[in-house]
């Protein structure tokens, strides 16, 4: 992963609540065994409509998706953030995110940014060509009028994103703790007995 650097971008607004992962990438595209090529199926069914925003100039070359509440609800498919990042998105702004989508996004350099309702409303009201700035290090979203809005990010995920490292390397270093835990496991140590 590349370190997550500050950037400035236009917004692609999707003013809908509860956008689910079946819309982000329909299940029929999950038969792949690779992570590649998912961008062409991002919001595939909605893109059948020529007026859908990703089919308009406004949907091109923008790095921030602005969506309604509870974005990414539904399935655990990591194909959703893979498709979004391959399309070019680096952040999604909403008033809330579904738990699994949020975790998956943070592992793929797609930052889920939660803003208060008033900021959310303000962002939706911005003109088409307006840009905002995102700086993960200071956890700030800067609006065109210069207003800086602080957003929450899990500190561990933030470090991983800024340094471009994934969690697995850190966890692998915890091997002694894992091995020690295994000697004391009370719940299932003897219980996955073989089928005899």
């Amino acid at each position: 992963m590349k370190p997550y650097l500050p950037f400035e971008s236009r917004l692609v607004p999707l003013p809908m609540n509860n956008i689910d992962t079946d819309q982000i990438i329909p299940a029929r595209f999950l038969k792949t065994t690779s992570k590649e090529g998912l961008d062409k199926n991002l919001f595939c069914d909605w893109r059948q409509d020529p007026n859908f925003i990703l089919n308009t100039p406004r949907g091109q070359n923008a790095q921030i998706l602005l969506a309604g509440d509870n974005f990414g609800c539904g399935s655990s498919r990591e194909h959703a953030p893979w498709a979004l990042t391959q399309f070019g998105f680096r952040a999604v702004i909403s008033t809330s995110f579904a738990d699994i989508f949020k975790q998956n996004s943070l592992k793929n350099s797609l930052v889920p940014i939660v803003v208060p309702q008033d900021v959310h409303d303000k962002l939706f009201a911005l003109p088409e060509d307006a840009t905002v700035k995102i700086d993960l290090a200071s956890q700030t979203l800067t609006l065109p009028d210069g207003t800086a809005v602080e957003f929450p990010v899990d500190s561990f995920s933030k470090t991983c994103l800024l340094e471009g490292i994934d969690e697995l390397g850190w966890i692998l270093k915890q091997e002694p703790s894992i091995a020690a835990y295994e000697t004391t496991r009370q719940y299932t140590l003897n219980t996955l007995s073989s089928e005899t």
Binding site: I171, E175, S177
Partner: protein, 468 residues
């Protein structure tokens, strides 16, 4: 000593491998379930890093999402699906993971075979690259869905970095009336709190109506916790749990069993433990539920009406209803009863177990499905299939005019060719009614197996209570 704890807090606390300031907790995983759709990229990741699967003995794989539910002796015609299925078999062989594949006598939907083989046990942490992992919470396990990066982390280390969820008590008291089922409880909860109502929390289902459910009913309820936004949904283990598990292949035996039961009895939430959120549902007044819209929270009692957006003040909420009604091609304010149905699907990790099939068969016995309806019955596993044969259920379904198929996820997720045509309406016992979920342009009414069977007979959305 900590104060009184909830069930989920107890399971969480007993699985902490390491905690340090500023980092999420490192949590041990007792059981990792793997299927063909969300695992290939994780295995590739292991190969790239030269890593092994740390605990293949705590890992179980099955093939369920992509496989046809037609004759298993035939090859899979879709080359992409065939490759994915083959890839899982190869990965399991290479990494030493037990695999209940297409031709295994234990194959089935991952959330059906885990419990029926006794892999799922109270107090465990259970994960799977699948959001319906919440199902296993019915046993008092802390069970939740994870993404493929986390699948890779668990394969490599048997642990996960997680922060604890908040606790949310869902109390269902009273006695369910005839025709009202576990599915109606969870659809009522989704309608009450909404699709995001449980975000950031773990549900704990309590109350006399939950206690009265058998394990399969509890699994149906826990299964759809994610449809109300909760990552997991748990039921405290009790004698119903222990009786279900006793004698299953992978549960402890003899003295180990007694010791396990003694431990499991410590799991229920302590008196005085506080929950962050609470909601209650009155089981006495509950009626069969059905969804009308494009998320599982868009549900009403079966005798209810489709909402009228002109009565909704919040703009985004109103837009969502307008959009859902447009997609579903339904008129505001009209009753949902009597709406024509093209397809009935009885199956999925929510409702494909033997009690679900029994309930549907009891209603269909001696009756015929309406000739205008295509009815698919898909058992959840080979074990369910065998049990159904022993009870003569396939004959009942076939005599009624149903298409009785081989085990798999089938038309719940419509990856395998089992799907709706654009514009078709289904009454489905599955868990999601999102746009296109059961096939591009398809329209889904989520309901119980009883409501599904009743609607199959009449050809329109039907209140099962009129047929019993």
């Amino acid at each position: 000593m900590p104060g009184p704890l909830t069930l989920s807090q107890k399971v969480w606390a007993s699985h902490i491998v390491r905690e340090e300031p500023g980092a999420p907790s490192l949590i041990y995983v007792d059981l990792h379930l793997v299927h063909e759709v969300t695992s290939p990229q994780a295995f590739s990741g292991l190969r790239e890093r030269g890593l092994k699967v740390r605990r293949p003995d705590l890992t179980i794989a099955t093939t369920d999402h992509s496989i046809p539910t037609s004759d298993r002796s035939l090859p899979i015609l879709d080359p992409i699906a065939a490759n994915q299925v083959e890839q899982l078999a190869k990965n399991c062989e290479e990494f030493g993971i037990p695999h209940y594949g297409v031709h295994s006598s234990h194959q089935g939907i991952v959330h059906v075979i885990g419990p029926e083989l006794g892999f799922t046990q109270p107090g465990m942490t259970v994960v799977c690259g699948d959001s319906h992992t919440a199902t296993h919470g019915a046993f008092g396990a802390l069970a939740f869905g994870i993404g493929t990066s986390e699948v890779q982390n668990v394969l490599a280390t048997q642990t996960l970095l997680q922060r604890p969820s908040k606790t949310f008590k869902v109390e269902v008291n009273g006695t369910l009336k005839p025709g009202v089922t576990a599915k109606d409880i969870i659809l009522a909860l989704c309608a009450k709190v909404g699709i995001g109502g449980g975000t950031g929390t773990v549900f704990e289902y309590t109350g006399s109506a939950i206690r009265a459910l058998d394990m399969e009913g509890r699994m149906t309820v826990s299964n759809m916790s994610i449809e109300a936004g909760a990552r997991a949904g748990m039921v405290a283990p009790d004698d119903t749990t222990f009786n279900y598990l006793h004698g299953r292949p992978f549960v402890p035996k003899h003295a180990d069993w007694d010791a396990a039961v003694a431990r499991w009895k410590q799991l229920p939430t302590d008196d005085g433990a506080a929950f962050d959120y609470e909601v209650s549902i009155d089981g006495d007044s509950l009626t069969p539920m059905i969804t009308w819209g494009t998320n599982p929270g868009m549900g009403v009692p079966i005798s209810g009406a489709v909402p009228d957006p002109s009565t909704i003040s919040d703009a985004l909420e109103r837009d969502a209803v307008v959009k859902a009604l447009h997609y579903m091609n339904l008129e505001p304010g009209k009753p949902i009863l009597g709406h024509p149905v093209n397809v009935v699907f009885i199956g999925s990790c929510t409702n494909s177990r033997i009690t679900d099939l029994r309930a549907a068969a009891a209603l269909l016995k001696g009756r015929k499905v309406n000739p205008s309806v295509r009815v698919m019955v898909v058992p959840g596993s080979m074990e369910v299939k065998r049990q159904a044969i022993a009870e003569g259920l396939p004959e009942i379904f076939r005599a009624a005019g149903c298409d009785y198929r081989e085990p798999g996820c089938s038309m719940c997720i419509a990856m395998n060719g089992d799907q709706l045509s654009p514009g078709e309406y289904s009454v489905s016992t599955s868990n999601r009614n999102f746009e296109g979920r059961q096939g591009k342009g398809g329209r889904t009414f989520l309901a119980s197996p009883l409501t599904a069977a009743a609607s199959a007979i009449t050809g329109v959305v039907t209140d099962v209570r009129s047929l019993i």
